[in-house]
């Protein structure tokens, strides 16, 4: 799965913002503030990555148990999919 080219993550004044670009504005008129973990996931999604690799990277970066990481990641990926921001999810 991968963040598609309709969205970019930009750092604006110390905040990570998901911003629609090009045709993405049709899907989502606005901006979405990302939490640090959300921004980390979006960074991982800049290249094609599997769900299990994503969880592995989250576990490397944050002190969190795997079950919680999986639940939160699925919720976040579902939100991105709701915006048509991610290709290949659900896997």
């Amino acid at each position: 799965m991968k963040l598609n080219d309709k969205f970019l993550v930009r750092e604006i004044i110390d905040e990570n913002i998901l911003i629609p670009v090009g045709e993405g504005v049709i899907e989502f008129k606005g901006l979405a503030n990302l939490t640090p973990v959300g921004a980390f996931i979006c960074t991982c999604l800049q290249t094609d990555i599997t769900f299990s690799d994503l969880i592995e990277q989250i576990l490397d970066e944050y002190e969190v148990d795997e079950a919680e990481a999986r639940t939160d990641a699925i919720e976040f990926l579902d939100s991105l999919a709701g915006l048509n921001a991610v290709d290949g999810w659900p896997e």
């Binding site: 930009r10 604006i12 004044i13 911003i19 090009g22 504005v25 901006l31 503030n33």
Partner: protein, 388 residues
């Protein structure tokens, strides 16, 4: 979307996030918002326009930036932290490279918005906006409700129908449209009809009855065109009253006595508090004489490549193509804090009611240090209205 959220809640959340972002930008001196004045040329010849010039005038004063130069500046503004870009003119759609420039900007990660007179909304342009809608919306200018008034104000009877055609096309696209009108003596009689036209296409109709003199080399006599202060406030009041009565909050629609309400009543206590917070913060941040976000969170780049606090200024200006956007932004602040105060304005008892902007003083009098009779008359009338 959370099921308990309605559109008003989302709009308020959005407004608050934008407000907080602007405050943070001001405190950190981040150039959050830009105006790109793509051209001073326009297919209409509005008598009151502050920048419109002929090709000959433009060529005598300088040259427009190329596509490559605008895109180079845009890339640098991205790095400097700019999020919002307003594309304006003149008429931006007159640029032969508009499609190319807009498409590139739409893919770079900006929140774009556009000012246009809507007379050049071709199927090709409609297709462009349909594929890449400007997230910040399109503001369409409307200067009359008849071909005769467009002829008188804009020098083009055709302009009226073309504007309506443009509005029809734009309103069929997934774009937030607002309508904006500047009022002068020649079109004020059509205000109610213009409002009806605007209401057909948008819930956001803004008016400007206060017209200041042209800037940056444009010579145009507007003394006989603009309204008196009394006339200007009369239409401003009528506009405010109409939309207050039309709002859901009006106690008896259409029956409210025509008295001036406080800003709290008009826009709500919570919104007023955030607006006050913004004013307080902006007033504490240099340049102290600029009370808005100019040179604090926002800047303009003129058609010939000068960075300015906003498009109402002649100076101070810096040259981003020569020294880079970030350096130009930093230097713009250094130059803007040197703007001298107007001695007469500082001691004026009507100062609290005055538009009080050095840019307006400069355009009206040619100097930051001379009081402008037009602005003084506006302040006096405003004071009388509020004190009533």
């Amino acid at each position: 979307m959370r099921p308990d959220w309605d559109n008003n809640v989302l709009a308020r959340e959005w407004e608050l996030a934008s407000h907080n972002r602007t405050l943070k930008a001001a405190l950190k001196h981040i150039p959050l918002s830009a105006m790109f004045e793509l051209t001073p040329l326009c297919n209409l010849k509005c008598k009151m326009c502050y920048i419109r010039m002929s090709r000959e005038e433009r060529d005598r004063l300088g040259r427009e930036l190329t596509t490559e130069e605008w895109l180079r500046l845009a890339k640098e503004t991205l790095s400097a932290g700019t999020l919002n870009i307003l594309l304006t003119g003149g008429e931006p759609l007159l640029r032969p490279d508009f499609r190319e420039l807009y498409t590139e900007l739409a893919h770079m990660g900006f929140m774009l918005s556009l000012n246009t007179n809507a007379t050049m909304i071709t199927p090709d342009i409609a297709d462009l906006f349909s594929r890449y809608p400007p997230g910040g919306g399109i503001a369409v200018t409307l200067y009359g409700a008849s071909p005769e008034t467009y002829q008188e104000v804009c020098g083009s009877a055709d302009g009226f129908h073309k504007t309506l055609e443009g509005l029809e096309i734009l309103s069929s696209l997934p774009i937030d449209i607002s309508v904006r009108s500047t009022f002068v003596r020649a079109n004020i009689r059509e205000y109610p009809l213009m409002r009806q036209i605007a209401d057909r296409y948008t819930g956001s109709y803004g008016i400007n009855p206060f017209v200041t003199k042209p800037v940056r080399g444009v010579v145009r006599d507007i003394e006989d065109i603009r309204m008196t202060a009394e006339q200007a406030f009369m239409v401003d009041d009528e506009h405010t009253d109409y939309y207050r009565n039309a709002s859901q909050d009006a106690p008896e629609k259409g029956k409210t006595a025509p008295v001036r309400r406080s800003k709290e009543e008009l826009i709500g206590e919570e919104r007023m508090n955030t607006a006050r917070e913004m004013v307080e913060v902006m007033n504490k941040i240099p340049p102290a004489l600029l009370h808005c976000g100019a040179a604090k969170t926002q800047y303009a780049i003129s058609w010939d490549g000068k960075m300015l606090p906003c498009l109402n200024f002649d100076t101070p200006c810096t040259l981003p193509l020569e020294i880079g956007v970030q350096s130009a932004w930093d230097r713009l602040l250094e130059e803007s804090v040197k703007i001298p105060p107007c001695p007469e304005c500082q001691d004026c008892e009507d100062a609290d009611y005055c538009m009080n902007c050095p840019g307006y003083l400069q355009t009206e009098t040619g100097s930051f240090e001379k009081a402008a009779p037009y602005l003084c008359s506006l302040a006096k009338v405003k004071k009388q209205v509020y004190q009533k």
